[in-house]
Amino acid sequence: MIPHLPIGETVSDFIDWLLDTVPWLFDAISNVMQVLVDGLTDLLVSPAPIVWIVVFTVVALVLRGPWLALYTLVAFLLVVSLELWVETMQTLALVLVAAVIAAAIGVPVGILAARRRAVSVVVRPVLDFMQTTPVFVYLIPAVFFFGVGVVPGVVATILFAIPPGVRLTELGIRQVDREVVEAAQAFGARPGQILREVQLPLALPSIMAGVNQVIMLALSMVVTAGLLGAAGLGAVVVRAVTQLDIASGVEGGLAVVLLAIFLDRLTGAFGQQTAVSRLLRARGRRASSAGPAEPASRQDENAPAGAPASA
């Protein structure tokens, strides 16, 4: 017979040991998260909603153009009319804090994994584990470490959102044209210079796609965080489920979707050219190509080459 391996018990014992040994660490993490989320929530909630709606609309206009600006205006006005403004801002604060921390962990790990094969080999199964473990399994230790409230929700969200940041960063850097990296080496660039000036800029679209995924996954964890008592749209949905209240369930769900679309379209723009940079580029090009010499160089390029090289 195959004996029962006490994996679950071992992990449980390990968590108990952690709690006994370094309780101050979890207190510190807990406090920092709490302060970050509370601070950001206050910032978002304290002014009149119209202030932030205008800000969001302008940001959408600058980064993405008039259509997203129009969507932003309508979507957030709808949120206000659903009387879910405060909950939506609480959720936004939670998502932003979790996404920033997840990206701050995931992107550097991705860079390391792209540069060191050993790191990549170790990190990959860890990421698989993090992505496929059922979400609720995270929640148990999160509750043990951080109690109930917003912090365990944020921590579980961070763990859940890190993998795409790592994967897409690693992929992006690996996909940078080898010859361009070689050229930087051939001209004597240091490894740090190559990373900063060649690999990261060229991997930026992929890294930003990763950040976008981080944010979207963070948002998808909101309802789960609501189960742990984090305030926000998650709490609205959880309450609706427990009370079988279809109306507020639909409204809470709609608010999540509206916020998700806004964040997705906005962050999807990070890796690409923004409306502003497009405008600047177009103006620059007009200025630089206005010189009379351009047609000459074009002609030079296509000069008939059939004639003998010299007389």
Binding site: E179, E182, A183, A189, E294, E301, P308
Partner: protein, 401 residues
């Protein structure tokens, strides 16, 4: 003074059992057999050559011949398995990372097959890349980059981004980046292979012009023997990582070392490689001013020719004596060959000019094309048959001269 670039016994094995593979290679075991026995790939084996200052040295081989590996061994982008590379007498393999970076930055520049420009930087910033790494001041960076861009004819597009340029223009930026670094050695890894044929010709012209002005020491990689013949002062033929032949273009065409090289040379555009000097023949007869017209006419009859070069006392061509005109002169009682009896019905060419420049002159006159030195002295002639023989595509080993 040591040669700019000296390569001795350079080898590269990719794979774990490096030393074992090298030992087998030294015993003369072939590449496939080495791969089968050790699992290691022999990319380059025991290649030695020197490149002198100002020389354009071509490494020629097909894909898989190891030429791209070889050029990367020259600046240690790939670490050699054996052998040495000396630049200005300094052994590259003895350098630590920082020293190697500094040598790469100001002694050896590289031009890449697919340009390898930074897409997020302007053309000018790309051209200044080596200087930026070197830590040169912004103003000097700009001046040097602009000089390099002007040299390759692209200064007007200095503020454009690489993706706004055509392939030929992008490679000009690649060339400008290498020139701006002001390094002695230029490694060019199939720089024109990705370009359209017409653009390729333009770029070859550009490189020839630059080389005649700047006299860089260039190692040029190509798989195109025509390009190799056209540009190279000397050519190293590489096959399966080993040197097959090393020599000048005409040397390789006239005496291919083996069937592999001979196969290649049969495809070469000989009209651009072979020069008048290569096809030169001793004229069957010449006449001198003051010779007796009757003797000359008789000699023409014997030689079954209709005309002959008449030289003055310093060996320069005075003109051509035609049999019919000689006959008329005799009838009219003029027996000495004077300047009045010769006509200017001939064409001449310098000994260093390629066939393509004189093929239209061959066979036009009663006398064959004359090959002359700078003072107009007749060195020899190029009969039509010699041109046709040289251009016939049959890989005729050693039969060209």
């Amino acid at each position: 003074m040591p040669p700019v670039l000296q390569v001795t016994g350079l080898s590269k094995v990719f794979g774990a059992r490096e030393q074992e593979a090298l030992r087998l290679a030294d015993e003369g075991v072939g590449r496939d057999e080495i791969l089968r026995r050790t699992g290691a790939t022999l990319a380059v084996h025991d290649v030695s050559f020197t490149v002198e200052r100002g020389e354009l040295f071509v490494i020629m081989g097909l894909s898989g011949s190891g030429k791209s590996t070889l050029v990367r061994l020259l600046n240690r982008l790939i670490e050699p398995s054996a052998g040495t590379v000396q630049v200005d007498g300094r052994d590259l393999r003895a350098l630590d990372d920082a020293q190697l970076r500094s040598v790469r930055n100001d002694k050896i520049s590289m031009v890449f097959q697919h340009f390898a420009l930074l897409p997020h930087r302007t053309v000018r910033e790309n051209a200044a890349y080596a200087l930026k790494i070197r830590g040169v001041g912004a103003r000097e960076q700009r001046e040097r980059a602009d000089w390099a861009l002007r040299t390759v004819g692209l200064l007007e597009r200095a503020d454009a981004r690489p993706d706004e340029l055509s392939g030929g223009m992008r490679q000009r930026v690649g060339l400008a980046r290498a020139l701006a670094a002001d390094s002695e050695v230029l490694l060019m890894d199939e720089p024109f292979s990705a370009l359209d044929p017409l653009i390729r010709r333009d770029m070859q012209d550009l490189l020839e012009r630059l080389q005649s002005e700047l006299h860089k020491t260039i190692v040029f990689i190509t798989h195109d023997l025509n390009e190799a013949m056209r540009l190279g002062d000397r050519i190293l033929m590489l096959k399966d990582g080993r040197t097959v032949q090393l020599g000048t273009g005409p040397e390789i065409i006239s005496a291919p070392a083996d069937d592999y090289v001979a196969d290649f040379t049969s495809d070469v555009d000989r009209t651009r490689v072979l020069t008048a000097g290569d096809l030169l023949r001793e004229p069957r007869m010449t006449a001198r001013l003051g010779d007796r017209a009757g003797d000359v006419l008789r000699a023409l009859g014997t030689a079954e020719a209709n005309g002959v070069y008449v030289l003055d006392d310093r060996g320069r061509i005075a003109g051509v004596a035609r049999d019919d005109l000689l006959a008329r002169a005799l009838q009219e009682g003029r027996t000495d060959l004077g300047t009045r009896e010769v006509v200017a019905e001939y064409a001449t060419i310098g000994a260093d000019r390629p066939v393509v420049e004189f093929v239209h002159l061959v066979g036009r006159h009663t006398v064959p094309l004359g090959v002359v030195d700078d003072d107009g002295r007749l060195l020899g002639v190029v009969p039509r048959a010699a041109v046709l023989d040289a251009l016939s595509a049959v890989p005729a080993r050693g039969s060209v001269r």
